[in-house]
């Protein structure tokens, strides 16, 4: 898809200039939370954003405390200032039936195919088709314009300012986004091929960014490095590295260094402090707390090393705090603000 179709592109790699945001990361890093907060950040100050879930887990509904969502774009998160986030829990089967009806007017055929098991085939078994359909749904929303298109005048404005995809984990993200290659080997011509080409046009355009969610732990960070290399190799654009669940520093740097270096926290000083605070059993307590501090220092040192290696990637990095007591709507608003403050908002 040419740049012209999207209007003049802003600075490449800038979150504010992109319209399709793919959020990936290792399992357990909080992709759904980050995708939702990003959608909210992009919808701030009156924006309209679609959040698409493709893994069939109903993670967004769960996060928002809603019952499972039926297939359809539903406005779920109204924001102050008139911003709106619509949510679509996309599943391949509904996307296929919708696709048949939209492009071929073939509702009946769809039902016949369904009886044959062809829908099952196309959506769960046929190579790449599932991903074609899901990325197709997301890219269609990116291209969609409001109202009827007039021939002479400027094109109508986009229906959505941005689309955020809560995407598959890093292990599958390359395959998910690179559907075209998969399909090209099978469908060299025909409508499926045309459709796949159109999808890839959007995904390869400067309007699409792939963001990686990670924790300050070795495995998620390693997967982030591998995933970024893969996305680079595919010629797609990497956006930000979102470091999720960052804990506030509890100890000052010198204390940590001392604890890590000696392997033993200054126990006498600790016991004196505990006594001064009026705690009984200060010596035993000091031993216990020293062990806690020692373990904490190891963990923090590991986090430092992990962060350094992430910084070496040279990508914009964004921190989101660890939230005590889970994530609800108000916590999401806080995360959205934090993303906005670090340049990932509208």
């Amino acid at each position: 898809m040419s740049e012209a179709e999207f209007g003049p592109g802003r600075r490449s790699g800038s979150p504010a200039g992109a319209r399709l945001h793919i959020v990936t990361g290792k399992g357990g890093t909080g992709k759904t939370t980050v995708a939702t907060a990003l959608a909210m950040a992009l919808a701030s100050r009156g924006g309209r954003v679609l959040l698409v879930e493709v893994e069939g887990r109903q993670g967004v509904a769960t996060l928002l405390g809603e019952p499972p969502l039926p297939y359809g774009e539903r406005e779920l998160i109204p924001l102050p200032g008139g911003g709106r986030v619509c949510v679509l829990a996309a599943d391949a089967e509904s996307a296929l039936l919708e696709y048949l009806e939209l492009f071929y007017g073939m509702r009946l055929a769809g039902q016949a195919l369904n009886r044959l098991g062809a829908v099952d085939f196309a959506t769960t078994i046929a190579p790449g088709l599932r991903d074609v359909l899901l990325t197709g749904k997301a890219t269609e929303a990116v291209r969609r314009r409001s109202g009827a298109r007039r021939r002479s005048a400027a094109p109508a404005p986009f229906h959505y300012d941005a689309v955020v995809v809560d995407a598959p984990p890093t292990g599958r993200i390359g395959r998910f986004l690179n559907v075209n290659t998969e399909v090209a080997g099978l469908a060299r011509v025909g409508p499926i091929r045309t459709h796949a080409d159109r999808v890839m046009g959007v995904i390869r355009s400067p309007q699409t960014l792939v963001h990686f969610v990670t924790l300050l732990e070795e495995m998620p960070a390693q997967e982030t490095r591998d995933g970024i290399a893969e996305i680079d190799a595919l010629g797609l654009r990497v956006g930000s590295v979102v470091v999720n669940m960052v804990r506030p520093p509890l100890l000052e740097e010198p204390d940590l260094t001392a604890a890590a270096a000696s392997g033993e926290f200054a126990r006498d000083e600790l016991a004196a402090g505990l006594r001064a605070a009026g705690l009984a059993d200060a010596a035993d307590l000091a031993a216990a707390l020293a062990a806690e501090v020692g373990a904490h220092a190891l963990r923090v040192a590991l986090e430092h090393r992990t962060r350094e290696r992430l910084t070496d990637l040279g990508r914009p990095m964004v921190d989101l705090p660890w939230l005590e007591g889970g994530v609800g709507r108000s916590a999401l608003e806080g995360l959205a603000d934090t993303l906005g403050e670090q340049g990932m908002g509208r």
């Binding site: 195919l113 190579p127 984990p169 998969e182 499926i192 204390d255 402090g273 707390l289 062990a291």
Partner: protein
């Protein structure tokens, strides 16, 4: 003793990992759970512990993380079980392999087809994508490999790490779905020559269907698919029967499912689905592993509540003295709060699944690098998070 919210623990029985691993009747252990909870590490730790207790174990992993291979002291893992070097005098043995879906699929084809037909199948573009990116292939091939290793008889214990499926149910459903598809009406329809009786059996709408299939998939794709299906069908036949055999193998009492979770809302919800599903399908559930939790070690620290720590910290902060103790108290207060949160989540899950056996593994301060840390995890699986004797599970919730 101050009692916190964790006290209402439904006193879950402990998952006795050693008894499970020592029992010669246990032949297969399947680790399942949401992504990122430590399934692979748990599988490796169980395999190592079993080997050191005298079993001849093999671990099948689907996780391509190099770190696992490194922690096992193996350069890299591939589709063939590789021996893991264990200390002198180890009673059993350990092998490890990483599932290569394509290689496994190729082997199945080569084994069941004459060379010419095998060549045709392996060269078909449809097969090539089927064997690498079919949704469900990884699950299917993991089960295929499990069946092969089981049949080889070279190991008396197989530990399987399951693929990070989209949903909890894929892992159990995918093999059957693939089998159903390959045996199904669509395949017969596609492999039948056009305009024969087969079409008439399909009832109304068949001409519409053929035109739609042609229109959407394209005639060339359909031809490839048809030739693939014809070649494939004669080779396999009974894919469904194969899937059912695997499914029954999983239901066998010699199999033990271990559901792995971390103490957070999402992972425990997924674990809950797994437990329900395994129960519904009569799969032998050994228990739940709550991984990477943050229990407080026994001793003086456990008796100091978050409120007491915060209060003492306020005193020191007010006086402006002892910054080290102040920081340590803040750290402790947070640790206690984290523990209480974990205990609440865990208790909610356990109250929904009464009687489920549980083992808890405390988070290590650093990531798993070597056999020693896998051994530590294995010991924690067997003994509880703090290594204390008795029901550390129950006592860890009191402060």
């Amino acid at each position: 003793m101050n009692v916190t919210s964790g006290e209402d623990t439904p006193n879950a029985p402990r998952l006795d990992v050693d008894t499970l691993l020592d029992d010669p009747a246990t032949r297969i252990v399947v680790c399942c759970g949401a992504g990122g909870v430590g399934k692979t590490t748990t599988a490796a730790a169980l395999g190592l512990r079993a080997a050191e207790r005298g079993r001849h174990a093999v671990v099948i992993t689907v996780d391509p993380a190099r770190r696992l291979a490194q922690s096992l002291g193996v350069e890299s893992l591939d589709n063939t079980p590789r021996p893991v070097a264990l200390p002198e005098g180890t009673r059993g043995s350990l092998h490890a392999m990483m599932l290569d879906m394509k290689r496994t699929f190729d082997e199945v084809v080569e084994e069941h087809a004459d060379p010419e037909r095998a060549r045709q199948i392996l060269a078909n573009p449809f097969y090539q994508t089927l064997s690498t990116s079919f949704s469900g292939t990884q699950e299917y091939m993991a089960m295929e490999k499990l069946g092969q290793l089981r049949q080889s008889g070279a190991w008396d214990l197989i530990v399987v790490d399951t693929p990070p499926s989209r949903s909890a149910l894929d892992f159990l459903d995918a093999p059957q779905r693939l089998g159903r598809f390959l045996d199904g009406r669509l395949i017969r329809f596609l492999s039948a020559p056009a305009n024969t009786g087969a079409f008439r059996l399909l009832g109304a709408g068949f001409s519409l269907v053929t035109s739609v299939v042609n229109k959407i998939l394209g005639a060339q794709l359909l031809d490839d698919l048809r030739s693939f299906v014809v070649a494939f069908d004669t080779v396999f036949g009974g894919f469904q029967a194969r899937a059912e055999r695997t499914y029954r193998l999983l239901q066998d009492p010699g199999t033990a499912f271990v559901v792995v979770a971390v103490p957070d809302t999402d992972a425990l919800r997924e674990a809950s689905y797994f437990v329900d599903r395994l129960t519904r399908d009569s799969m032998p559930l050994a228990g739940l592993v709550v991984n990477r939790s943050h229990p407080l070690p026994d001793g003086a620290g456990r008796r100091l509540t978050a409120a007491q720590a915060a209060e003492a910290e306020a005193v020191l902060r007010g006086a402006g003295t002892h910054p080290l103790a102040s920081a340590a108290l803040r750290l402790h207060a947070e640790r206690v709060r984290i523990r209480e949160h974990e205990a609440r989540l865990r208790d909610r899950m356990l109250s929904e699944h009464r009687g489920i056996r549980v083992a808890e593994v405390a988070a290590l301060p650093e990531d798993v690098h070597d056999l020693a840390s896998l051994r530590t995890i294995g010991a924690a699986l067997a003994d509880g998070p703090s290594g204390a004797a008795g029901d550390s599970w129950d006592s860890s919730t009191r402060h």
